[in-house]
């Protein structure tokens, strides 16, 4: 009934105008009265669209012809002028209805867009304002299911391969598995999103299987009725999916900062444990050495052989101290505590290490070959010094008495390449790699930790260390990163 109303109005309007013209003509004929039909057709086109306007124009032509065009009372078309009149009426009907129609459509879509962006704005502000990401996600899923075509809108997080439903209701085990697969392979199932446009891919029409769309660190699981999903709904859906992607990002950032806080506190814990451990292990050795060396001094009045025994014992205590120190240093490195990196002159590191070992190295000839313009390295001074000290100590162990120990360095492809070489016996080829393993040692009395520590420290700086047999004897080569900017401050 409602559909016919515009036509009834069109015909009624034409009849009404015809009656008016007829009444006016009874008194005194007025020319150009037919323009009133034109007004009616214009209005019909703008208000009711094309077909009522066409019906109106045809009816107007017929009635006008019948009542007013001579011979009155007959439907006859005489001459091109009348044909033109009909054509003009029809053309006006078509053009105005077309214009009005597109205007109406533009207004409707503008209204839809306003509605959509307001809805999105609300969801986005609510979602971004809430502290808990999962709350925001739940809100988003709820808004999604409010769309007519969307039966389900769920978000699944995939953390290190394990899926868990975050918002939008529970999922079956099979669905979770499917979601995890989709995320892992980055492959959407039964849906595709390209350039912000959602396309539903129905492989099995009528089946109520959900679609899976992998996002930043999770999956959107959707049940969308393709029949009901108009372009507006799909656009809204795409926008919601984009928002879900952002929320997943936010969730990941939150998780990461939480983990960083955890790591930091575990670093503090490790440091505390190591400090208390070194205190417990080193305090007894400290008392031992203080006591033994006190008694060994000539003023204590002991005999020569007794003092010799005390000196031997002190040497053992010193060895024990060094081993404990190595173990603690290694645990510190294993714990992955942060390096205190700064620009350092390599010569300073060599100086520190040789000074520390001046007693031991007195029996060797130390040759240091460093170019004058050696660029600074970016290292932890204490740790890098330990590498040099350990390598020098190792060289001293193997070098013959008065043998040469050579230390050298050259810059090479962004790194500093340094070496420590001695005139000792060659290392068996099979041992060249194993030599850096923890607790591996060629000496009966060694702890097997010195070179392992070197390897850890060098690698923690992003460098490499290796051993080789040169003509003169074994050489240990290692690399340290050069300092990023050649810092030459004005003095």
């Amino acid at each position: 009934m409602r559909r016919l109303a515009p036509y009834a109005i069109a015909i009624g309007g034409v009849i009404g105008i015809t009656a008016v013209i007829w009444l006016v003509n009874l008194r005194a004929p007025v020319s150009g009265m037919s323009a009133m039909y034109l007004l009616l057709v214009l209005w019909l086109g703008a208000r009711w669209g094309r077909w009522p306007a066409v019906v109106g124009s045809v009816a107007a032509f017929v009635l006008y012809d019948f009542f007013f065009v001579p011979p009155v009372g007959t439907l006859s078309v005489n001459g091109p002028a009348e044909v033109l009149e009909l054509v003009v009426l029809l053309a006006v009907a078509l053009v105005t209805s077309q214009l009005a129609g597109s205007l109406r459509r533009a207004r409707a879509s503008a209204e839809a867009l306003t509605r959509e962006s307001r809805a999105l704005y609300e969801v986005a502000t609510q979602a971004l304002r809430s502290q808990e990401v999962t709350v925001a996600m739940a809100m988003l899923c709820e808004r999604g299911t409010e769309l007519r075509s969307v039966g389900r809108f769920a978000l699944v997080a995939v953390d290190s391969g394990l899926p868990s439903a975050l918002a939008g209701g529970d999922l079956s085990a099979a669905e979770l598995k499917q979601a995890a697969w989709s995320h892992e392979n980055g492959r959407p199932i039964r849906i595709s999103v390209r350039a912000g446009a959602v396309t539903l891919v129905r492989t099995n029409p009528g089946a109520a299987e959900p679609a899976y769309l992998p996002l930043a660190s999770g999956v959107a699981v959707l049940q969308v009725d393709a029949e009901l999903a108009g372009p507006d709904e799909l656009r809204m859906l795409a926008a919601l999916i984009g928002l879900a992607d952002l929320l997943f990002d936010r969730r990941r950032a939150a998780l990461e900062s939480e983990r960083a806080r955890g790591l930091e506190s575990s670093d503090r814990l490790k440091t505390a444990i190591l400090s208390s451990l070194s205190h417990e292990l080193k305090s007894p050795i400290a008392s031992l050495r203080a006591g033994l060396t006190a008694l060994a001094s000539p003023q204590a009045g002991l005999q020569a052989d007794q003092r010799e025994l005390l000196v031997d014992l002190d040497r053992q205590a010193t060895r024990l101290d060094r081993m404990v120190g190595d173990l603690l240093a290694l645990s510190r490195l294993e714990a992955g505590l942060e390096l205190d990196k700064e620009a350092q002159n390599f010569a300073d590191l060599v100086a520190g290490a040789t000074r520390q070992l001046r007693g031991e190295l007195a029996g060797n000839r130390l040759v240091v070959e460093l170019p004058d313009d050696l660029p600074p390295v970016e290292v932890d001074e204490v740790q890098a010094g330990r590498v040099l000290a350990n390598l020098l100590e190792n060289a001293h162990e193997w070098a013959p008495l008065n043998g040469v120990i050579e230390v050298g360095a050259v810059p090479r492809s962004g790194m500093l390449e340094a070496w420590v070489e001695n005139e000792g016996p060659p290392i068996a080829t099979a041992d060249l790699d194993r030599i850096f393993d923890t607790f591996w040692t060629r000496r009966a009395r060694g702890s097997g930790l010195g070179l392992a520590i070197c390897k850890r420290v060098v690698e923690a700086h992003g460098g490499r260390i290796s051993a080789e047999n040169r003509r003169r004897g074994p050489r240990f080569t290692f690399t340290f990163p050069l300092a990023p900017v050649p810092a030459v401050p004005g003095s």
Binding site: S275, S278, H279, K282, S283, I285, A286, S287, L288, R289, A290, G291, T293, A294, L295, A296, S297, Q299, A300, D314, A317, T318, D321, G325, D340, E342, A343, Q344, N345, A347, D348, L349, V350, A351, G352, T354, R355, L366, V368, L370, P376, E381, V382, G385, V407, A483, A487, V488, P489, S491
Partner: protein, 226 residues
């Protein structure tokens, strides 16, 4: 008597060993087990040197150091089993004169104590020329010589060397050097000091890989050999 030494250490064995060892070297030794006792004893007995362990129960080493400073002019040598350079720097910046990592032998300890005592005597005497081997720094004349030959330094280089010389034998932290030579704004930029020290060594004819005058204190700073 070569001097009064106050040992502050909570381990009785350590106290006993140090009392014996330092006693054999003619030091007058007293030992206490806590920071509170140390402050009292420092004021009452007036020791020349205090050996302060950082890991004390109750009032810890840093707090004790802070409390000791107004009470005494004694040299403070920090002893600690913690080989953490940050602790050393903190202690030196808080007014300690030297540090020694535990365990150590008696000879080493005696050498350190004698060094700080000698330094104190020099400071009291107001010696205008400071020597380190054949290097001589004449503070009054602002002149530096090696083996009698004059060395020309830039103002920054001289200022750094002068500060190390005034504290000869004592480790000076990077932070202290930066503050003294460049001012507060330069703190944190330790490559400044490294660069200037390298320049001074070059002019003094010192081998950077085996320096005779200015030695590195890894992770801490520099020390001019006394």
């Amino acid at each position: 008597m070569s001097g009064r030494v106050l040992v502050v250490d909570d381990e009785v064995e350590m106290q006993r060993a140090l009392r014996a060892g330092l006693g054999y070297h003619d030091f007058d030794v007293r030992a206490v087990g806590s920071g509170e006792e140390a402050v009292t004893e420092a004021a009452a007995w007036r020791p020349d040197v205090i050996l302060l362990d950082l890991g004390l129960p109750g009032m810890d080493g840093f707090a004790t150091l802070k409390a000791l400073r107004p009470a005494t002019r004694a040299a403070v040598i920090i002893v600690s089993v913690m080989p953490d350079e940050k602790d050393k720097v903190r202690a030196l910046d808080a007014g300690a004169d030297d540090y020694l990592v535990k365990p150590f032998g008696t000879e080493e300890l005696v050498a350190r104590i004698r060094a700080v005592l000698r330094r104190q005597a020099d400071v009291t005497a107001g010696e205008p020329v400071i020597r380190s081997g054949d290097l001589a720094i004449d503070i009054g004349r602002r002149s530096v010589t090696v083996n009698g030959k004059s060395v020309r330094l830039t103002p920054t280089e001289y200022e750094l060397l002068r500060f190390l010389a005034l504290h000869a034998g004592k480790p000076v932290t990077h932070t202290t050097l930066l503050r003294q030579v460049w001012g507060d704004y330069a703190i944190g930029d330790t490559y400044n000091t490294r660069y200037v020290v390298a320049q001074i060594r070059k002019k003094l004819g010192d081998d950077p890989a085996n320096p005779r005058y200015i030695v590195n204190e890894p992770g801490v700073g520099y020390r001019l050999e006394g």
